[in-house]
């Protein structure tokens, strides 16, 4: 295993809290190291003449009953206080974590027994348990440390058990089991490294808590005993005199709070950093995105002011802070009643394009376009509420995962009815009636009964039909279906596609069908846009798509997907390398690095969408140049993948 850091330290110093916490802990540690040798002597010097003083010039924080300087004693006590707290936490973790992972190692029955024991131990009040154990072990530092360790151990056990259980379900654990790797090795190599991070963070937090608990124990008289002294012990002594010379408690009290706060803040900043680390965007770039100037060599036909289009979108670009531009200069027009397909692989920008049309982009995204006419009008002229109302009523969206897009807590009737109530102002009863009607129109049997069902009571196909019914509750002019059948079985997929086709025909609504599956798109659409790396690389009708696609990417895509008619004797075509990401701003055609027909021009100059013939546009310098050839077996994105950088 290479040493990937759990938490990147430089990251920690990017937040002010993190910096302060790190400085506090550093100060404590330095003090713990240097205070006893420097001030140890002064701190234990008895001066009866100065006994029980308040704040004086010689003793700013007062003296104790033997006249020892409290400021110095506080500083010197750092070592013992912190050492005991750290020791107690480590001991607790050291006992708790192995107990926690034990259920994964031993048999099922014993495992269950251990789990119950842990639950029982967690149920005890922490401090009470600590006092109890400390009293049994014996007064003094040893008792306090063991007491606190015993009190925090159950928490570590429970945490590591839960974490281990969550990792145990991962496929790599299953894979290791199939390989016949023993339980011990499985735990040490596969489970523990993957749960180490939250455990370390908890350890840090526990140190802060242990510091407080130790002070508490000393206060109760079961902690460190004289002549040793820690902050808790000093606080106890001081409290006896708090009404006479209150200053004497300030030293140890501030020290305890300072140290506990330092450990806790550091633990939390680390935890926050760890949680945020998986963010996909690099944080160091925050300048607004400047796109390279591109020629807008557009077709006269496209320049025509045509009215009556459902959607007329030109030059859509979607960018995220940090230099990611996942959608680049995309233009789509949709005529009334037309179903337009968008095909592309993951990362091609097809879904973001749809979300931009529906104004559902995440708040961080910046979208710009040259023209954006929806339902024949410019939406930017409408106010925010007007726009939302128009979109709510006229735009329907069908997502890939109907379970995630239906509210699990509402029954089907309420969810459908809500649309009509909110957007059309229908009464609840009318809305219910319309829900039943719409469910029947998407061929759900006995819809009167089904409206009372909750989403989890329906099959995947039925849920998707409910989603479509929901879209039809208003008076949609445009239906956006984003991978509507990807999560469904083929037989159900067929029904849903037929339903979408019917919905378009019966309501006159236009639709945009987004899919990675070129065959699905070709079944439902007449016109198809092929997207690659955020751009439309080809726009053509289905017969042309099937017979003679002009862009090398489209051709390769078609040749790489096995169909029911593929020649089983010949290897499939595969596309070498992988697609450029949204951060790529190199000039030239985005497909050039993977294209067999790429020339120098392709690598230096971006081809824009140009008409090849009527209704067929392609963004390629060498259209029709590639006849896909089958590669050698296993060839593909493999050997010469330069994406490892």
């Amino acid at each position: 295993m290479t040493g990937r850091r759990f938490v990147r330290w430089p990251d920690l110093f990017r937040s002010p809290v993190g910096v302060v916490a790190a400085l506090m802990v550093a100060a404590i540690l330095v003090l713990a190291l240097i205070a006893p040798p420097i001030w140890g002597h002064v701190a234990s010097k008895i001066d009866v003449a100065a006994a029980s003083q308040g704040s004086t010039a010689a003793h700013p924080l007062g003296t104790d009953v033997l006249g020892r300087d409290i400021l110095h004693r506080t500083l010197v006590a750092t070592r013992l206080s912190v050492f005991l707290a750290v020791l107690a936490s480590l001991l607790g973790a050291g006992v708790g974590i192995p107990i926690g992972v034990l259920p994964a190692l031993v048999g099922r029955r014993l495992g269950r027994l251990i789990t119950s024991a842990i639950s029982l131990a967690v149920a005890f009040p922490t401090l009470l348990l600590a006092i109890f154990v400390a009293s049994i072990v014996g007064l003094g530092a040893r008792g306090a440390v063991i007491g606190i360790a015993a009190a925090v151990a159950p928490y570590f056990a429970r945490l590591s058990q839960t974490l281990a259980a969550s990792v145990a379900g991962a496929d790599y654990i299953a894979a290791a089991r199939v390989l016949g790797i023993g339980r011990w090795r499985l735990t040490v190599r596969h489970v523990l490294p993957n749960v180490a991070e939250p455990l370390l963070l908890t350890l840090m937090l526990t140190m802060g808590d242990a510091l407080l608990a130790l002070a508490g124990l000393s206060l109760l008289g079961v902690g460190v005993q004289p002549p040793s002294y820690d902050w808790g012990g000093m606080l106890t002594e001081g409290l006896l005199r708090i009404y006479v010379t209150p200053i004497v408690v300030v030293g140890p009290a501030v020290a305890i709070i300072f140290a506990a706060l330092g450990f806790n803040l550091l633990g939390e900043s680390l935890a926050r950093r760890a949680a945020r680390r998986d963010g996909t965007l690099p944080r160091h770039v925050s300048s607004p995105v400047v796109l390279p100037p591109e020629q807008h060599e557009r077709l006269a036909e496209l320049e025509d002011e045509r009215h009556g289009k459902v959607l007329d979108l030109r030059g859509l670009t979607v960018a995220f802070p940090g230099g990611s531009v996942p959608v680049r200069d995309v233009s789509i027009t949709v005529e009334p009643g037309e179903i337009v397909g968008i095909v592309g692989e993951s990362g091609s920008g097809k879904s973001l394009t749809a979300m931009a049309i529906a104004e559902l982009l995440p708040a961080r995204a910046q979208s710009t376009s040259e023209r954006r006419l929806l339902f024949g009008g410019d939406l930017s002229l409408l106010g925010k509420t007007g726009r939302r109302r128009l979109l709510g009523r006229s735009l329907a969206i069908v997502y890939q995962d109907p379970m995630a897009s239906l509210n699990p807590a509402l029954n089907v009737g309420r969810q459908l009815g809500e649309v009509a109530e909110v957007h059309e102002g229908l009464s609840r009863r009318e809305a219910r009636k319309r829900s039943v009607e719409r469910l029947r129109s998407v061929r759900i049997g006995s819809p009167e009964r089904r409206v009372r069902n909750y989403p989890h009571e329906l099959s995947g196909g039925m849920r998707q039909r409910v989603m479509i019914a929901m879209g039809l509750m208003g008076t949609p002019q445009l239906i956006i279906a984003d991978e509507p059948t990807t999560a469904l079985d083929v037989t159900v997929q067929q029904q849903i596609l037929k339903l979408l086709d019917d919905a378009g025909t019966s309501t006159g609504a236009a639709a945009i069908l987004i899919s990675h599956d070129i065959a699905v798109v070709s079944q439902l659409c007449r016109r198809v846009l092929v997207m690659y790396a955020g751009r439309v690389v080809e726009e053509l009708d289905v017969p042309t798509l099937v017979r003679r696609p002009a862009h090398p990417y489209t051709a390769a895509l078609l040749a790489s997907v096995p169909t029911m008619d593929s020649d089983r004797e010949r290897p499939l075509v595969s596309i070498p390398g992988r697609a450029v990401g949204p951060f790529d701003h190199s000039p030239g055609c985005p497909f050039a690095p993977r294209c067999p027909a790429a020339s120098d021009r392709c690598r230096s100059e971006l081809p824009v969408l140009r008409p090849l013939e009527s209704g067929h546009h392609v963004a390629c310098w060498h259209p029709n140049s590639v006849i896909p050839q089958s590669g050698p077996p296993g060839d593909g994105e493999s050997v010469r993948e330069d994406a490892l950088a």
């Binding site: 295993m1 079944q523 096995p562």
Partner: protein, 340 residues
């Protein structure tokens, strides 16, 4: 010679009323040096069957045989020494590799499980395995997070191959990949079969993919195997009505959805797998069953797997044709039943 065989393999989840028989007496044969494709819709039990074979799921009945020798104990995994002869590759290459182990460490661990070897020998082995799956050996120092989906799936393959298994179980290994990458993995599987002489059980819901990669096809419906036969033949002449519906539903490039007929599977919602229909599980949705011909009560009453061995493709359908060359008793019985 058969590399892997299951006889009456049954997997049951839960007990009593809510018990789910995920795999119901599956007789599956994976001959040597063959890719067997296992298709079915979600909930058909195909993945459970795969996991039961490698020992990730306890079996309730039946047995798993390797080279004709019983290899699995009923509940607790494998007979010692046989488990490593069957290996599995999982669907999601993003979760099947330990994120904290380098590619080299993951493969070396698999290769070294159960025996000792020097560091240099180990490294050489890892290199060979990576080359076998067409990866640059330099990736051995990388963590999985640095690799693409296709590369990770190759690493998962290399790790499974590290123990030199005779049978590889590939559970939906291309479904999480982009189409342009999927084809390379499919080519690789066929290449591995030819070069290493291993057998592969390729489990997938995607018929076109299964048809392309497999030599033999097996179809599952609601926990039962309903038909099995040579891939080309089975696709060209399916004998079971379920296989036929499944094939008809595969989207074909450029064929409008309006020109596709409605399947009988559409008419009825899929049944609850906890309470599967009696007799033939398909009968409430079947295109040749009692739904279209009320006289065919046999479908409701009798398990069609009776006598399946004598039918073409071992079809579990009372009305599938008898395989040529077998005597006519099965058919005769049937006509008698029909007459009554």
């Amino acid at each position: 010679m058969t590399a892997l065989e299951t006889r009456g393999l049954t997997v049951r989840f839960g007990r009593g009323q809510s018990a789910l028989v995920a795999v119901d007496g599956a007789d599956l044969t994976v001959p040597e040096q063959t890719i067997v494709g296992l298709v079915g819709e979600s909930g058909s039990g195909k993945s459970t069957l795969a996991r039961a074979i490698v020992g990730l799921v306890p079996i309730a009945g039946g047995e798993v045989l390797l080279d004709g020798v019983a290899a699995r104990h009923r509940r607790t995994g494998y007979v010692a020494g046989l488990n490593r002869r069957v290996q599995m590759v999982f669907q999601d290459p993003f979760s099947s590799l330990n994120p904290r182990m380098t590619v080299g460490a993951a493969i070396a661990e698999a290769a070294g499980a159960g025996r000792r070897a020097s560091r240099a020998v180990r490294a050489r082995e890892v290199e060979e395995l990576l080359e076998l799956v067409h990866l640059d050996p330099a990736v051995m120092r990388e963590l999985p997070s640095r690799l693409s989906g296709g590369q990770r799936q190759r690493v998962a393959l290399a790790r499974a191959l590290a123990v030199r298994p005779e049978v590889l179980i590939a559970d939906e290994i291309t479904s999480a990949l982009d189409v342009s990458v999927q084809s390379a993995i499919l080519n690789l599987l066929r290449d591995l079969r030819d070069r290493l002489g291993i057998s592969i059980l390729f489990v997938s819901h995607n018929l076109a993919t299964v048809r392309y990669v497999s030599d033999t096809l097996a179809v599952m419906y609601l926990g039962r195997l309903v038909e099995a036969g040579p891939a080309g033949e089975l696709v060209a002449e399916p004998q079971h009505p379920y296989t036929r519906s499944l094939l008809d539903a595969v989207p074909r490039l450029g064929v409008s959805i309006r020109d596709v007929g409605t399947s009988t599977l559409d008419a009825v919602e899929p049944p609850d797998p906890r309470r599967p229909p009696s007799g033939c599980h398909l009968h409430p949705r079947c295109a040749v069953g009692p739904m279209v011909d009320p006289t065919r009560q046999i479908c409701i009453e009798a398990d069609p797997r009776e006598g399946a061995d004598e039918r073409v493709h071992r079809a579990a359908c009372h009305f599938a044709p008898r395989a040529p060359g077998l005597n006519g008793t099965a058919r005769l019985e049937l006509t008698e039943k029909e007459a009554t």
